[in-house]
């Protein structure tokens, strides 16, 4: 088991609801800063390494959902501990073999600076590669969701789209979303916080109230 020496600093990992750690990084689209994405949503994701099969399938699928994400005001930003030259060669290779253009920038994080800031390296899996992490960052650059997958398991793009839809629906309508929610499904009305509001809940028009704490409603079309 890894131990931390007394007095050694432990990197503070990002947390939901807190500002995303700022960075400036070399990417396949030039030097970018986190603040360059301010005002829009950002999905920052890491992959273990260029020219590896699972990562290649993921890049192809991220490219496929990129137009859907852009329609939702979301940009993609990839990252791995590889050089810009490696990224460029891999992106060109994907285009050559799979006829898929990678439209998003990829951070060349050779010094692991951004990976460390975001806790993307899981030493139990690999000390030299980033795991499959996804950070959904909102227009105010607050971390709104995080997904961590192991090296062996490719991510589910439908879930990433669903997650973005759920977060944006929450922001727009002040509601929560139930398990397996999809756009068009009923949403959860936040539970009442006072005894009076709980008593009123069952009488509120336009909601399906199973009990005072469990109520759903349709969103306007």
């Amino acid at each position: 088991m890894d131990t931390v020496a007394p007095g050694a600093s432990v990197p503070c990992l990002p947390r939901l609801g807190q500002p995303a750690p700022g960075f400036q990084a070399e990417t396949t689209h030039g030097t970018l800063r986190l603040e360059d994405f301010k005002g829009g949503w950002l999905i920052l994701f890491s992959h273990p390494a260029d020219f590896t099969p699972v990562c290649t399938t993921e890049f192809i699928e991220f490219a496929r959902i990129a137009p859907e994400l852009r329609r939702r005001g979301v940009e993609l930003l990839g990252l791995s501990i590889d050089s810009t030259y490696s990224h460029i060669a891999w992106v060109r290779n994907i285009e050559q073999h799979f006829k898929v253009t990678i439209p998003f920038p990829v951070i060349a994080d050779l010094n692991k600076e951004v990976a460390t800031l975001y806790g993307m390296i899981m030493p139990g899996e690999s000390k030299t590669e980033t795991s499959r992490c996804v950070f959904v960052i909102d227009p105010n650059q607050i971390i709104r969701a995080m997904i961590y997958y192991p090296l062996t398991t490719g991510r589910n793009m439908a879930e990433i789209l669903r997650l973005v839809d759920a977060l944006q629906t929450t922001d727009k309508h002040g509601v929560a979303t139930p398990a397996n929610w999809r756009p068009g499904d009923q949403v959860i009305v936040p539970p009442p916080k006072t005894i009076e509001a709980a008593a009123e809940r069952a009488k509120t028009p336009g909601i399906v109230c199973t009990d005072w704490y469990f109520a759903k409603k349709d969103l306007p079309k």
Partner: protein, 75 residues
């Protein structure tokens, strides 16, 4: 500075942006005008500002005298 090549010439995106700045615009305005992602415009504008080709005042970017000369010299 990726938008300025080692020989001092500008990358195509930087050329397009300084052409667009013949009329001063915000980063969002350039983005809309050129149909580019906002992050690309912001990062390129930052480098153009570091190269003293554009200057920003209250969120509006305009060509400097050097920038104007550079635009006029573009093919």
């Amino acid at each position: 500075m990726p938008c300025v090549k080692p020989d001092g010439t500008l990358e195509p995106m930087a050329q397009a942006i300084i052409r667009a700045l013949r009329s001063p615009r915000t980063a969002e305005g350039v983005c809309e005008h050129l149909r580019l992602p906002l992050y690309r415009v912001r990062s390129t504008m930052r480098e153009l500002a570091e190269a003293a080709l554009v200057a920003e005042t209250n969120g509006v970017y305009a060509l400097t005298d050097t920038g104007r000369t550079r635009v006029e010299a573009l093919p």
